[in-house]
């Protein structure tokens, strides 16, 4: 009489184990989805660069300090929020690097941070179409860009008019020396 009981007990422990591992698996998969839902990035895992022309010569620089949090569709309430430290913008050219923080350019003393906050994100074939507000020097302007989704990277490049943000407003309002359009490009490693 004992044997069947034993075997059914064994069976039950076995199915309990199955059930537990199912829950653990479910929990784990949910946990990973949560991690994927909110993607955090920064200068340590990606890059935010800017480029343009000065005196007809190309220049390029990057923000050495920034942070971004991305929640992308199909997650509900998708959003992208990025903050970059204006004083961390570096081109490697000593003349540019000592001019950029100044009053007429980034005015880092009064506006330490630049910010991007999305207003709308739509999934597309290549990735995401992003609309949002870019704030530099306390001036907010709408921008929109394609965030391209490749296997392990999200990337974008779009132009802004520096004069929209009063960057170099006094020094070079006619873009005689520094191009009006400055390209911003961003790479986020997933």
């Amino acid at each position: 009489m004992k044997t069947p009981v034993n075997s059914s007990f064994l069976n039950r422990t076995f199915s309990m184990g199955m059930l537990m591992s199912f829950f653990i698996a479910l929990y784990l998969s949910l946990a990973t989805t949560v991690v994927q839902a909110e993607l955090k990035s920064s200068h340590q895992s990606g890059s935010v660069a800017f480029s343009g022309q000065h005196a007809g010569m190309n220049f390029e620089g990057k923000f050495e300090r920034w942070e971004a949090t991305l929640t992308l569709p199909p997650q509900s309430n998708p959003s992208i929020i990025a903050t970059f430290y204006m004083s961390s913008a570096k081109t490697g050219d000593s003349i540019y690097d000592s001019t950029l923080p100044e009053f007429d350019w980034f005015d880092v003393e009064n506006h330490a941070l630049g910010k991007f906050v999305s207003t709308k994100i739509e999934m597309t074939e290549e990735g995401y179409q992003v609309l949002g507000d870019l704030t530099i020097k306390n001036i907010t302007q709408p921008v929109n860009f394609m965030l391209i989704d490749s296997q392990d990277q999200l990337s974008t490049s779009f132009g802004i008019n520096r004069l929209d943000y009063k960057i170099g407003w006094e020094s070079d309002p006619d873009a005689e020396w520094v191009s009006k359009t400055i390209f911003i490009s961003m790479v986020i490693n997933k």
Binding site: H54, A55, G56, M57, S94, I95, S98, T99, E102, D104, E170, S171, D172, W177
Partner: protein, 186 residues
């Protein structure tokens, strides 16, 4: 009695001729970058070189005037009459003033410029400061710009006069004043 001094201090001589050479470069680069039909990139590059070299000349001029003040200058030849001596001295003082005005007005112009571009003296670790309190002062910039080119014209004329005086004395009185500004064996 110590024999009368024949020439200027060696440091004065070195500085006199290096500054003379550097001035040629400053005139050439200044006129070129302002007037020549060159690309913005080249203009920008020559501007930076002109600024950096001008700052070095300012240092050299300070050293030059210091050397002049703290060392003994050779007396002018006896053959010159008092009026000529007076004119020579006045002419030399005038040259010094015009010389110093050049880099100072350049420095003021750059410091007051709306661009606010810094001056690096050829290397990234020597950043020559702007004159404080004049940033983005358009009026001062224009003023300094005018002083810079007008003084350049006056200086150029004075240098011609300076060389002319040397030639005139050589021809007319057969005195070789250049030996005062060189190491002559004698």
């Amino acid at each position: 009695m110590t024999p009368s001094l024949q020439r200027y201090h060696s440091l004065s001589i070195v500085l006199h001729w290096s500054i003379a050479l550097a001035l040629l470069f400053m005139f050439a680069s200044g006129l070129y970058m302002v007037n020549a039909d060159i690309s913005k990139a080249d203009q920008y590059r020559v501007f930076q070189i002109h600024k950096a070299s001008g700052v070095v000349i300012l240092w050299a001029l300070i050293l030059r005037i210091g050397t002049r003040v703290f060392t003994q200058a050779p007396a002018l030849p006896d053959s010159l009459n008092p009026q000529q001596v007076f004119k020579a001295k006045l002419g030399h003082i005038f040259l010094y003033v015009a010389l110093v005005t050049m880099p100072l007005s350049g420095w003021l112009m750059v410091s007051a410029s709306p661009f606010g571009l810094p001056t690096f003296v050829f290397v990234d670790w020597i950043k020559w400061p702007h004159i404080p309190g004049v940033a983005r002062n358009k009026t001062l910039q224009v003023l300094a710009n005018n002083v810079h080119w007008i003084t350049a014209a006056i200086l150029a004329t004075s240098i011609v006069g300076h060389v002319g005086a040397f030639l005139w004395h050589k021809k007319k009185h057969n005195i070789n004043l250049i030996s005062r500004m060189w190491w002559n064996k004698k």
